[in-house]
Symmetry: C2
């Protein structure tokens, strides 16, 4: 029934048929995610609400924006993408997030939290200016609701003088359980759902911002959702509404209902061998160090377990802070704690660190405070696509004064860097991918600003400067590709991007330098080396990602497409030799 | 009396003496700002409140954080900096903002809006972890109160289980009058100040977040402020308080009271001749273009007039949006309006655009939407110092895929770029300094991605690629310095940073390339050129700002100290000739 469903068909279905359709969607989602990976429990919770939205509203004329966007699977199934759904999150397949390029039904791309209400307001305002008529809906979870952007958007609703529907999808969870006073407040509203007078009194906050508040309803009750949305639809011409619904994360799949955090995102193991994840090294090492160093504090923005910090949080609750999805606030908290002699570690995915850019410059680095940024999922992160790649961090951190940037060659060196960080009294960023796949032998003692030569050659013409585990792996493989050809190639673990190891760099004059990194070319490691040698006779060849967004797929396949691979490196050297 | 005041003396003063001290501070501030420039009206409004704070609390043991920090002048006068006050905002003088490096009384540097509550919470949390006892106070204006960061901080107050005092200094203004629902709400609280029952009912929002609300009091009434702060001080051991005070922006200086927007920041005219300000060209051109193009919309974050958009806002109110100090929200609004076929222009100071970094990547550029960023105060902006320099934008924009970056050589070319932007259907950033000082003749038709050679030479050995008016001025002057020496130097207006003019660049092979820009070296224009030539025989010399924060002073003097000046360029060429 789901396979060829059209909007017209859906609108003529009976409740019983719609319920059957919902079950079919639920099964399709579960089957696909267990095969491809993806967001499971949040999507299972959204099935009935999404079916009701498609039944009541007229997409794509009406517009719907999914906050973060990970919960849009049923929407995709109902908007002509059933056939493509098997390719969910696969290379060249459909995205796990809304994509304008994929369908007219996706009016706004999301990926980072808290943007949906702003986007809905912008679309509604444009509609008003153009004198058009359609409905604009933002669907936002209670986790995203903590983000300051939502407040900024709410604050401007009356000012913009327009009307939207915000559906607050309350399942009590971000990736971690939702925290904060707004969450508490939502719980109060839920508790008083049946007592109109009490609820009205409590719902005042939203009304201050110009919204009519309506809730709490069971978002998994299809019949009730249809009735409620139908009623609200008629009000959107003259007022803005917050519809507060409770949904069950993982609904209909017992394992997910019981383990919503573990089944938020499902990763499908790659065939490649993984030695260990960097996140577990972060967790173990910080937990160990914090036992004797009482200054160490860990701060996260709603991703404690995926960053490896669950044990730390359990052992040192008084020095553990999860502020919810508030990346800017988390950064300033660290900075402020550092002014008082604490040693804060802000652990965060590379892509979400983009949110803290201004605070890294102004709060941490212009004050030269000893905050350590532990940047996970750096480089190409895989199946989440464009909005989740961590390929910009070396560039946007490289320009920030006072910041030291370290990139470990493997998980063991990561541990060393963390140990080093404890007494390092200035801003420090350590960036690393998710997976630790191999351990390189060490060639030189670990020291501040010092690189190490992992492959030496007596008469080398080429020096490969590789930054991080993936780049080093490609470089080692490139040297293997060249073995027996009598070409002298050295490989250096360029583990500090800032400062550079100027002493070692100076010794390479006249050789051909090759840089390899897991980052875009512009402003990245290679570009720093280009600048170092730009007014000399030394030539530099950069292997880094191209100027463009990188969509979903296997990280090493995508890297190769971007021109960063062992073969590309060895081909360059062979070509250069034959010139 | 003010000159040698100590904390102990101040605490033993009578009310009458304190009032006299306040008047003395007011006079000192007025006199100094009218001479040096700076923030006038906000500081005049803060005099009595600051005197009361110093009377009641024990700084520097107690900690005070000023949001944005522009209102800290009385605090500086009362904390041992009277003697240095004549050097306010002067090169090597004291800063117009709080600076940890300047005094123990400044515990946290600010400059961008909305960070104070987060910082206060971080300091208070560190205090609790360490088991220490002192008070932590954030002073925040109603303008900053719109920023999402404040919401993120409030949301975590209970979670952090700590106690702070937030003084909401309500003067009804940011730089522009404060907008938004939170502001409306503050007005309601003010109106009901005398009716306890009504006030209590309305004050609920803050209480949800764990604050006791207390207000509204007259922040210019010294006696009342002392009594109120004394009372609150005793409560801070067990609860957090929001003290809502109304102050009069410009208090005590009739002209300021009547013109709070015009006297928010006072600029003292440089002796250098200014042709016109870029902001007025932005305003005039957009206003003209918008008459026939109904898609054009202007969006600002609380700086409409300083960005030159007052007339636009008056003429096209329906297409004018000032969201208050909500830089991220403003960016997403633009992006969303663009999905609906509008043509949004987000005008913003370079330094504040740092707040929108993630949204530029995810919302504007990953969706490839035709939003134009009009980036004012780019380069070294002068007397506001570290936190206000616009020297990072070429770097953090240069790494963003899909973004075109244009830098006009003068205000006339800026006008051309704005005309060009109207039908350019992709993300575009135009960055420019405040002052337009000269007009260069044009050497080639303006076209997308095309540079122009402004100084040609038949047998040139050197090509200067200059980016923007200041860089071009230095370059022209450098050529003058070299006149008669028979050295062939060409000067190119590199008006597009992205894309590069590859055709013209290719024609320079073998010459010595010199890049000049008003931006840091890392990731900037020069670094892009380094990468372009890195695997060739062509040598490049970069003139750009060093890796460090640039404090206050005259822009061209500071640039020269950073190694970017006409003399540095001509010296390099002469030295290179003599090698």
């Amino acid at each position: 029934m789901l396979e060829n469903i059209t909007g017209a068909q859906l609108k003529s279905m009976t409740l019983k048929e719609l319920l059957a359709l919902s079950e079919e969607a639920r099964e399709k989602i579960t089957k696909t995610v267990l095969k491809n990976g993806g967001h499971l429990s949040s999507n299972l919770g959204m099935v009935e609400l999404t079916v009701a939205l498609h039944y009541v509203f007229d997409f794509p004329e009406d517009k719907i924006i999914f906050d973060v966007g990970h919960q849009c699977y049923t929407h995709k199934l109902l908007s002509g993408r059933y056939k493509d759904f098997d390719g969910l999150r696969q290379k060249n397949g459909i995205s796990g997030f809304p994509k304008r390029s994929e369908s007219d039904y996706d009016c706004y791309n999301t990926g980072h939290a808290g943007t949906s209400v702003s986007a809905a307001l912008g679309i509604a305002k444009a509609r008003d200016i153009k004198g058009e008529k359609f409905n604009v809906i933002a669907v936002i979870g209670d986790g995203s609701f903590n983000n300051g952007l939502v407040y900024e958007a709410f604050n401007s609703l009356k000012l913009l003088n327009t009307h939207i529907l915000v559906i607050l999808n309350d399942n009590g969870m971000s990736i971690s359980p939702t925290v904060g006073s707004m969450h508490e407040y939502l719980e109060i509203l839920s508790e008083n759902a049946q007592q109109q007078e009490k609820k009205d009194r409590h719902a005042k906050i939203f009304e201050r911002f110009g919204f009519k508040y309506d809730g709490v309803y069971d978002g998994n009750d299809l019949e009730q959702m249809i009735a409620k949305l139908t009623e609200i639809k008629n009000r959107l011409g003259y007022e803005s509404v917050i519809l507060h619904v409770a949904t069950k994360k993982g609904k209909g799949y017992a394992f997910c209902e019981e383990h919503p955090e573990a089944t938020h995102g499902i990763s499908i193991a790659q065939t490649d061998r993984i030695y260990t994840e960097y996140s577990s090294v972060l967790g173990n090492t910080l937990t160990r160090l914090a036992a004797t160093d009482k200054r160490i504090t860990a701060v996260t923005a709603a991703m404690t377990s995926s960053l490896g910090l669950s044990e730390f949080f359990e052992k040192y609750p008084e020095r553990s802070i999860d502020v919810g999805i508030c990346e800017e606030h988390a950064t300033i908290l660290c900075s402020a704690m550092a002014t008082e002699g604490m040693k804060p570690y802000y652990a965060v995915y590379s892509t979400f660190l983009q949110r803290s850019f201004d605070e890294i410059i102004i709060d941490i680095c212009s004050q030269n405070l000893p905050v350590t940024l532990c940047i996970d999922r750096a480089g190409i992160s895989g199946s989440d696509g464009e909005t989740h790649q961590g390929v910009f961090d070396l560039s946007f951190l490289g320009l920030v004064p006072n910041l030291t940037i370290a990139v470990p060659k493997d998980v063991k060196e990561f541990e060393k860097m963390l140990e080093f960080s404890v007494d390092y009294n200035a801003p420090l960023a350590i960036r690393y991918p998710r997976d630790g796949r191999r351990i390189f032998r060490s060639a030189a003692e670990f020291g501040f600003g010092k690189w190490e030569k992992l492959i030496s050659s007596d008469d080398s013409k080429y020096v490969i400067l590789a930054c991080g585990e993936n780049a080093l792996s490609y470089s080692f493989e490139a040297v293997e590709n060249l073995s027996g050809q009598g070409i002298g190639v050295e490989v250096v673990n360029a583990r500090f991007i800032k400062p550079l190891d100027n002493e070692m760099l100076g010794s390479f004059s006249g050789k051909t330098i090759i840089t390899v990194e897991d980052n875009v070319l512009a402003g990245g490691f290679g570009s720093i080396i280009d600048t170092y040698f730009c007014n000399s006779d030394t030539k530099v060849k950069n292997f880094a990602y191209k100027d463009g967004f990188i969509s979903q797929g296997n990280p090493s396949v995508l890297a190769s497409e971007q021109g960063v691979s062992a073969k590309a490196i060895s081909d360059f050297i062979i070509e250069n030799e034959n010139r």
